[in-house]
């Protein structure tokens, strides 16, 4: 898909940023088209707000450039950039009333009084706050303050409006109303909106384009439909909407095996007998009392009414847990049959199939890796100082409550339930990522000891 350079308003090229040792943005490349509503979506700490602050000019990048209309704006201080921001907690000036807050930017530009008056009135009308000109901003409700914050930014007629989680402080009902208003405002004004949020539902509702970020990297860029229906990896699948994510094997084109059954699917080109991740949305699993017509069967474990639909967990005969949404309720304990249509099965390439660490031999049975010492089985043909590659399957990493029992430790940073086990990402204090399959239940941010049995390491020498 080729884009006409004239249609691009912001072009972010190779942006990286670290705070101390922590990399918050890792070689970000992204272009934003004129007039689009683009959302940076991700969990807290993924780098989305840092990216927005760089566009606004509050932060400088360690490397890379940001082009606005083809010109590098990196050296430009924030007050000279033709962009305006709506801040998370509004950041209205408490010592000024509504009118003076909105007129702030125009007054600085020495705009004639009549014009200021005209533009302030117009923009207040746009955000439906016409009667509030003389009000003290502290006396306004959260939603009203939000409107003023938007008006204060829009009155300057920015080329791009940056919004940093503007609805996060509002209650649910207000948030829904404001989403609709923002969308309408965007359509009416035709300017580019760059929106930051951690709320996937909000992103799906508002955006033309969603950029999913995690740990300083872009995971996927696409329309809300693309992102929801065809997540590129298990992170995106898990983050956007509810999903069943399980390990599977691509048997051949259009045939995939998971939860102990073979299914027809529509994916091709993965190769034969390749391990994959499989995603099925809970609303895409058909559930019925008829066991004979089903592809697989199980027992209903829980059934919760969610307003429009029921959400059920079913344990299959093979012992996998699947989440299903349906308009009908199936009684807890009843036997049910299930069906999945080929088009509803989303197959994703696995990013990795086992842990790979680099290490250095300390002796023939000691190894230095992950900034710690590990025992290994005596290695023939390897001597002290040899650089090696160590492979450890996900399931062979042993997490311990007692930190002393591990060779090193780390904190659980990401948890994915895969139907019959958990897939964890554990990050060591030095920043190494370790991927673990386990049946034990851990919580996010738990600190765990990491033990690896010598027999489970596959060590190969790296030849220079």
């Amino acid at each position: 898909m080729k884009v006409d350079p004239k249609d691009i308003i912001i072009d972010i090229q190779h942006i990286s940023k670290a705070f101390g040792d922590k990399v918050v943005l890792d070689d970000i490349n992204l272009y934003i088209k004129k007039g689009e509503f683009l959302t940076l979506l991700g969990p807290s700490g993924c780098g989305k707000t840092t990216m927005l602050r760089m566009i606004a000019g509050f932060l400088g990048a360690d490397s890379g450039v940001i082009l606005l209309d083809g010109k590098d704006i990196s050296p430009m201080p924030p007050h000279e950039r033709p962009l305006n921001t709506v801040f998370q907690k509004y950041a209205l000036f408490p010592h000024l009333d509504v009118y003076d807050n909105v007129a702030f930017g125009l007054k600085l530009k020495k705009t004639p009084k009549e014009e200021i008056d005209q533009r302030v009135k117009k923009v207040l009308k746009l955000v439906s706050m016409s009667d509030y000109e003389d009000r003290d901003v502290n006396s306004l409700s959260g939603g009203q303050q939000q409107r003023i914050a938007i008006a204060r930014a829009l009155v300057n007629q920015p080329k791009v409006l940056l919004l940093d989680e503007p609805l996060a402080a509002l209650d649910l009902k207000m948030r829904k109303d404001m989403q609709i208003e923002l969308k309408e405002m965007h359509e009416k004004l035709g300017i580019t909106f760059v929106y930051v949020t951690h709320d996937q539902e909000e992103a799906l509702t508002l955006s033309d384009t969603i950029v999913v970020m995690n740990e300083g990297k872009i995971q996927q860029i696409g329309t809300p439909m693309d992102i929801y229906n065809e997540p590129v990896n298990s992170f995106v699948a898990d983050f956007i909407g509810e999903s069943n994510i399980v390990n599977g094997t691509m048997i051949c084109d259009r045939k995939v095996e998971f939860i102990g059954h073979e299914f027809d699917c529509v994916d091709e080109g993965f190769g034969e007998n390749v391990p994959v991740d499989v995603v099925v949305r809970p609303e895409d699993i058909y559930i019925m009392n008829n066991l004979d017509a089903a592809q697989f069967t199980g027992t209903v474990q829980t059934c919760i009414f969610k307003g429009v639909h029921y959400e059920m967990t079913v344990i299959t005969k093979e012992g996998y847990e699947v989440m299903i949404q349906d308009y009908n309720c199936f009684e807890v304990g009843s036997e049910v049959g299930m069906l999945i249509k080929p088009a509803d099965i989303q197959v994703m390439k696995k990013e990795r199939i086992c842990n790979t660490f680099e290490g250095e031999m300390l002796s023939d049975s000691r190894i230095w890796m992950l900034d710690a010492e590990f025992d290994c089985e005596p290695q023939e043909g390897l001597s002290k100082g040899d650089m090696v590659k160590v492979e450890v399957p996900f399931g062979k990493i042993d997490l311990r409550d007692n930190l002393d029992e591990g060779s090193t430790d780390g904190s659980v940073s990401f948890i994915l339930y895969k139907g019959n086990h958990y897939h964890l990402t554990v990050i060591t204090p030095e920043g190494h990522h370790i991927y673990v399959d386990t049946n034990d239940v851990w919580d996010k941010n738990d600190i765990v000891g990491i033990h690896i049995d010598p027999a489970d390491m596959k060590i190969t020498k790296i030849s220079e």
């Binding site: 924030p78 007050h79 000279e80 950041a91 600085l108």
Partner: protein
């Protein structure tokens, strides 16, 4: 009920003790006797003597009174200049400290606390040695510098909380709307910090008024007197200039009025005393 009466009478007793000397001074400001305890009939002579520099009533010599008036003027002038300078320096410093990180921040905050923790005499002696060491002749300038030294920490401590209460994006919002850093400071930061700056200024001003030890050591033999050093000299001579009685009474009433005003307004808001 019993408990309440007991508590009230205890408070009353302590209050009486606490205010007895001040009340005593105030009462004896309405008589012309040289020494206290010796009531020579009601008279406003001390007040008129104080306000006219000795011309209206013949209590103390003209020289004594002009020295007293000069000391009063010096006290007010030094307090004003020092607290103004402290407010400026301290506000800038508070903004800087607030945006610092780690070891530097801790070090600057620690140093800022030194003049608060040090007894006056240490501050006075150390500054005395500094001016001696630098061959700085002592007088107005040294006293003002010394007062800025122990006043600024109060301003810093009053402005810092205002900074942490402030929405961290406010400064950036101003930049975002086209303000230069200087404009953002003037139009957005300062108005937000103003309450802290004002209470810092008032605190600095009273600390300066109250000071004796630091002034004593940094004024040297320049003949510069503030009220404190004047009273000290009086005490060494063995008696209080009678006109000090009405002066003390007036000062006390002013402070009482100001503090009552400030606190009654504030107390409703945050349930704590502004001191």
């Amino acid at each position: 009920m019993m408990k309440k009466i007991l508590a009230k009478s205890y408070l009353g007793l302590v209050l009486v003790l606490l205010y007895a000397p001040i009340a005593f001074i105030a009462i004896y400001s309405f008589t012309t006797a040289k020494s206290l305890g010796n009531w020579t009939g009601f008279s406003l002579d001390l007040y008129s003597s104080l306000f006219t520099g000795g011309r209206a009533a013949d209590v103390s010599s003209h020289e004594t009174l002009s020295a007293l008036i000069a000391a009063l003027n010096n006290t007010l002038l030094i307090a004003f200049i020092a607290s103004l300078a402290s407010t400026f320096l301290g506000t800038l410093a508070a903004i800087g400290i607030f945006n610092m990180k780690g070891r530097w921040k801790a070090a600057v905050q620690f140093t800022n606390n030194i003049p608060l923790l040090n007894p006056d005499i240490i501050t006075g002696v150390s500054l005395f040695l500094l001016f001696v060491f630098l061959h700085f002749s002592r007088g107005y300038l040294t006293v003002i510098l010394a007062h800025i030294t122990f006043c600024t920490p109060y301003v810093v401590l009053n402005v810092l909380p205002k900074l942490s209460q402030m929405n961290p994006n406010i400064y950036e919002a101003a930049l975002d709307l086209g303000a230069t850093p200087m404009q953002a400071l003037r139009k957005v930061m300062i108005p937000q910090l103003r309450p802290g700056m004002i209470s810092g200024f008032i605190l600095a001003f009273t600390m300066s008024l109250d000071d004796f030890a630091v002034t004593y050591f940094t004024a040297g033999s320049s003949g510069l007197d503030t009220l404190s050093t004047y009273i000290y000299a009086d005490a060494r001579k063995g008696g209080l200039t009678p006109e000090l009685r009405p002066l003390m009474t007036i000062i006390f009433l002013i402070i009482l009025a100001v503090l009552l005003f400030v606190n009654l307004r504030n107390f409703k808001k945050n349930k704590s005393l502004t001191i």
